[in-house]
């Protein structure tokens, strides 16, 4: 190493890594020794999602394609850009569309953040599919990780629902008609939708328990058309409920992959 490099290294070793501040934050020296490389993973909340050491095949990109990590990464990007969008958005038909127009035209970086959020959402759907595909192709869903695969399936469903509920929020033609097409299917839910098989059997004579103002679609939309209550419901689901559930299940998902162990050839 050059003389300058030696000087820099000496300065870091003696003045930075030994300093009170560095030690208070990281609690160990720079991770260039085996001991410190282990400690950095064990003592850091974010890094300790990993084990300290992994078998060689699991580190390779051609084994994992990084898809699981990228799914989480996309979730974080969507959370950050989503919080930004929430500052400028009001979930009522009077304001929603105007707020998006204003976001696009008046807010600094508004259009960029909206684009990041939308393309990030599409990307997350794709990345989650491909993560699932690779977990299948490497047989990683088999024992002892069966339960974690099931959690993953629920997370897939939540990813689709998050994307779907977000689709309504701009309150433009694209939004309400895509959601109208999607939620129309709920009419036909067996027993629970008013146009579903079996629904007319619940009740007595003219008294029907399940009708167009009491079925599951009505509960989902808060009305019989995609209107103001649907917008509010989808907003709350999109910004609060679904991310909380997804976050909780992600914690379980990550915990379990550490406890069940990363898939490896025996």
């Amino acid at each position: 190493m050059s003389a300058v490099g030696d000087q820099v290294r000496k300065f870091l070793d003696e003045s930075v890594y030994q300093s009170v501040i560095w030690k208070s934050v990281f609690r160990h020296g720079f991770p260039d020794t085996d001991r410190n490389r282990t400690l950095v993973v064990l003592s850091n909340l974010f890094l300790h999602l990993h084990p300290a050491k992994l078998k060689g095949h699991a580190v390779r990109m051609r084994y994992t394609w990084c898809m699981g990590g990228l799914s989480f990464f996309m979730f974080l990007i969507l959370t950050i850009s989503g919080v930004f969008l929430m500052f400028y958005y009001r979930p009522t038909p009077e304001y929603a569309y105007q707020d998006i127009v204003a976001l696009r035209e008046d807010v600094p970086l508004g259009m960029f953040m909206r684009n990041v959020h939308r393309w990030g959402a599409h990307s997350m759907v794709l990345i989650v599919w491909l993560h699932m595909l690779r977990v299948f192709m490497t047989g990683s869903y088999k024992a002892p990780r069966e339960f974690n695969w099931a959690i993953g399936v629920i997370l897939l469903k939540l990813t689709l629902l998050l994307s779907f509920t977000g689709y309504l929020l701009p309150w433009d033609q694209l939004a309400i008609w895509a959601i109208t097409v999607g939620t129309n299917m709920a009419r036909a839910t067996p027993f629970l939708g008013h146009e579903g098989p079996g629904a007319s059997l619940i009740g007595y004579d003219d008294f029907k328990v399940v009708h167009s103002k009491s079925d599951i679609r009505f509960a989902l939309l808060g009305g019989s058309i995609v209107g103001p209550s649907a917008l509010l419901r989808f907003y709350v689901l999109h910004c609060v409920f679904l991310p909380l559930v997804a976050g909780f299940l992600m914690a379980v998902h990550f915990w379990r992959i550490r406890k069940d162990g990363f898939s490896a050839p025996l």
């Binding site: 309150w171 033609q173 050839p265």
Partner: protein, 372 residues
């Protein structure tokens, strides 16, 4: 050359023979049958297809096909919709990921034949520190993906159409791209099956998959030959019944959800003779030459019998025909596997019945919204 009655033309004159040919092979029955044949062909000839020159040639061919397709005003119109961008990314990314998986699978299967261990097994001998060996990969990949996402967000604006108007429905009204496979299923099944039962069965099928796969091999490395059945079924569902249907729903379904060739201008006034016929009409009118009975339980018994047979006689026959498979799984797991497979294959079966004999419903009880 006949110009379409729609607002947009059919593209340059010299492309018409090619466009007409592609429009023809995009007809659902030809496209679906061809894709299924290509799927099994690709599995059969995987050793040739994974060779890098072949894979690169196929990628170049696909890019050339898309570029040529842009000469068609219809395809150009759909391709430039910002929300359809993920479809193109999906095609290339899924292709890349599958190529990488099969490249390693073919390699490992060859190693097993030579009595060697899998490539992953060799690599697993060594234990590596996560810092720096994994952290650096993750950091670089995350930075790369973030850069791509930023570039995409700078280059392409998210769509914002007119203010929502419940009185003015667009034609066609489409679900978001990732649900277009489900919307395409609505052509063949009523919403209670296409929108509720089939998606539910997809999720339940995925959840029970690890509990019903009795094959202990193939954990932690890529292989095809040790897991032929599982991989074939899974990829058939993903590629043919999900990805292909998304493509059909995006590019081949126009106004009134009518079918259009890839380059055929979307004409809202396109008339199709839809004389789809219920199974009961076939049975009573064409076979017995009688008027169908009025009561549904008498009229629909052939359909009920058929569906009952499909879900009982086929599984029962399977216990004899695939005796070892049945014994390995046991009754409960066997039933779950077979029920999910039968529901899965009920989709292509109904598709072919529609295309061949214009079958509308196997069971038709509109009073109870119970149509299959």
């Amino acid at each position: 050359m006949i110009l379409a009655s729609g607002a947009i033309g059919t593209g340059p004159e010299y492309m018409q023979p090619f466009f007409n040919f592609v429009n023809f092979i995009c007809r659902p029955e030809i496209l679906f049958t061809g894709s299924v044949a290509a799927f099994f062909g690709a599995l059969k000839f995987r050793k040739i297809l994974v060779k890098p020159p072949v894979a690169i040639a196929m990628t170049v061919g696909l890019i050339a096909f898309i570029l040529i397709s842009l000469l068609s005003p219809q395809f150009y119109n759909e391709a430039r919709k910002p929300d359809n961008a993920p479809i193109f990314i999906m095609v290339f990314l899924t292709g890349l990921v599958l190529w990488a998986a099969f490249y390693q699978a073919v390699n490992n299967d060859e190693r097993f034949r030579q009595g060697l261990r899998s490539d992953e097994h060799e690599a697993a001998e060594e234990k590596l520190h996560v810092w720096p060996y994994l952290i650096y990969i993750e950091a670089i990949v995350a930075a790369f993906v973030l850069a791509l996402l930023f570039a995409w967000s700078i280059g392409l604006e998210a769509p914002l159409e007119q203010f929502a108007n419940p009185a003015k429905s667009p034609n066609p009204a489409k679900a978001p791209w990732y649900f277009l496979g489900l919307q395409e299923m609505l052509v063949y099944y009523d919403p209670w099956i296409a929108g509720v039962v089939l998606p539910g069965m997809i999720l339940s099928g995925l959840i029970v998959l690890p509990y019903c796969d009795p094959n202990p091999k193939g954990v932690g490395y890529y292989t095809f030959e040790q897991r032929r059945l599982a991989i074939t079924v899974f990829l058939f569902g993903f590629l043919i019944l999900w990805v292909l249907l998304i493509f059909v729903g995006t590019f081949l379904r126009g106004p009134n959800w009518n079918f259009f060739g890839l380059y055929e201008p979307w004409d809202a006034h396109k008339l199709l003779s839809l004389n789809n016929i219920n199974l009961s009409e076939y049975f009573w009118s064409d076979l017995l030459h009688k008027a169908p009975p009025q009561e549904w339980w008498r009229r629909e018994w052939p359909g009920f019998a058929l569906i009952f047979a499909y879900f009982t006689i086929l599984p029962a026959a399977g216990t004899v025909l695939f005796k070892r498979f049945y014994q390995k799984l046991g009754f409960v797991r066997y039933s779950m596997v077979v029920m999910h497979l039968l529901v899965m294959f009920s989709l292509p079966i109904k598709m072919y019945l529609r295309w061949s004999i214009n079958l509308k419903y196997i069971v038709f009880i509109p009073d109870y919204f119970f149509n299959i």
